[in-house]
Amino acid sequence: MKIRFWGVRGSFAMCGKEFLRYGGNTSSIELVSDDGGRLLIDLGTGATEYAKTLMATEFGQGKGKLAVLLTHTHLDHIQGLPFFTPFFIKGNQLRILGADPAGSTLKGTLQNQLAPHYSPLNGLENLAAGVSIESFLPGTELTIDEFEITTAAVPHGTMWTTAFRIKADDKVVTVLSDVEYPAPHRPTREAFALAAGADLLVHDAMHDDAAYAMARGWGHSPVSAGVHLAGAAGVGKLALFHHSPDATDAAIDAIVEAAQARTSIPVMAAAEGTYHEI
């Protein structure tokens, strides 16, 4: 299994020279199995870049097939949806799977994103590909092609998001984005179970530890939360993810260096642009 980050930024897409190495696009992660099966997690602006490469393949002819998992529907995780070009080609088989937000439904929320006030698409029904929107309860096990997926709800400020443990080709990737534990060193049981023994843990690292003091309760982790969980759960590698929009390339370099000094587990900062073998 391979992983590629198409968007690694939290909250807000950042443009400019200071954000070129790690990338300024918001959340979007691609997984590719050894047989070439694909799975996408989140539709931040990074997904629009991914869409361009897909359009050069069978998706351009309306013969593509892709499932997209959503961690949640905050804008930085769905803002690429109206510009994900495979949705506009009839024949593509596209699914969006996610949990229903509190008091709402996944379909209703995405429909609202495309409401005529906000988008000229005027609703999901105008996506020519005919996207299937599928809600699941966190805790559900999903099988999508060769990907076996365990899901769980994890705390995110006053709400929760869905985290994933994804297995394919005997490798495991865990994605814990947009999560804040009761305390940085006290992950929830669900988060721990998803991360246990994973080959790669992708973890929310929105705040460096100093900045976290000011941001407690906002729903994101300090870097040390991912470092701690990686060690406790015995993962093979840690990828810091969902970088603060204010973190320049130089700031992220420093964050990785400081994190690596505190653990023997290899630490990287998720960056746009290359496939990593897991």
Binding site: A13, C15, G16, T45, N126
Partner: protein
């Protein structure tokens, strides 16, 4: 009067190497008068950096944001506008009411808990909504503002701002007034225009031309190159040629190409900028292609210094 471009892109923000010079953030322009007060036109992703600057300065406590319409690329910066998170500040938002819903409901709707963690109603600043009426001028911070209707899905307005004895107009987003009349339904392609549609389009164009007459600087939605427009005439955007056609012979000194397609790279933009500089010169209009961070002086002083 001075204008600063904080976001010049259409549709969605495009980070990366290909957009470093022209910028990747979406629609947002700051207009500052000689008295120091500033007005903001559109609240795309460019608004975040502008808000940080305004909060840092801490001088202005009452902020005015004129919205052309409420498509995401024009409002997405609003929840990230730092002055809204400062108690004692006021944010006045002006927009066109396009349906029965209240403005507060539509604009506040982007901060529903499904989309954003902090609801607009919960921010410390006071937020007020004002409905604009095309053709009816408003006076805000000593600036006379004339809203006018544009041709865009679900409705859109442009604004002419007069202050300091000069004027700037913001014309984005709009399709030209020939091929399609945008209403409040989805278009998968062009529809046949009725005689009534043609009359409405002609009136809209005439009102726009009249509103722009004698304007020093006109900022215009030129999302598409002609060959792109030919493929997507129903998307609600114009080409630089169509913009030039509206301003030429209308006593407009300068045209700013704006709301660039997200697919346009810096190199393509350079080419477009050079091509339309020449085309503009041929009809007596100074054509400038907007880039993020660009600051322009509007008015007699600028005219005197112009080549």
């Amino acid at each position: 009067m001075e204008i600063t471009f904080w976001g010049v892109r259409g549709s969605y923000p495009v980070p990366g190497r290909a957009t470093i010079r022209y910028g990747g953030q979406t629609s947002c322009v700051e207009v500052r008068t000689s008295s120091g007060s500033s007005l903001i036109v559109d609240a795309g992703t460019g608004l975040r950096a502008l808000g940080q600057k305004l909060a840092r300065e801490g001088v202005q406590r009452r902020h005015h944001i004129l919205l052309s319409h409420v498509h995401w690329d024009h409002i997405q910066g609003l929840p990230f506008f730092e002055p809204a998170y400062i108690s004692g500040n006021t944010v006045e938002v002006y927009a066109l009411l396009t349906a029965a819903d209240e403005l507060q409901q539509v604009i506040g709707g982007i901060t529903r808990h499904e989309f954003f963690p902090v609801p607009l109603e919960a921010v410390p600043a006071e937020i007020n909504f004002h409905e604009v009426d095309p053709g009816l001028p408003m006076l805000v911070e000593g600036v006379t503002i004339l809203p006018f209707a544009l041709n865009h899905p679900f409705g859109s307005v442009g604004y002419r701002l007069d202050a300091d004895g000069t004027s700037v107009a913001y014309v984005s987003d709009t399709a030209p007034f020939t091929d399609v009349l945008h209403k409040q339904h989805f278009l998968s392609g062009l529809e046949t225009l009725t005689d009534e549609d043609r009359r409405v389009l002609a009136d809209m164009r005439a009102a726009l031309v009249k509103s722009l007459k004698g304007c020093d600087t006109v900022i215009y939605d030129t999302h598409f190159l002609p060959e792109e427009y030919a493929r997507f005439p129903h998307y609600g955007h114009s080409t630089p040629d169509q913009a030039l056609e509206v301003v030429a012979g209308n006593d407009v000194r300068r045209l700013i190409l704006y709301h660039h397609a997200p697919s346009h790279t810096d190199d393509q933009m350079d080419e477009m900028a050079a091509r339309y500089k020449e085309k503009g010169a041929a009809v007596g209009v100074d054509v400038i292609t907007a880039c993020e961070g660009m600051v322009l002086t509007v008015g007699p002083k600028a005219a005197a210094g112009a080549s």
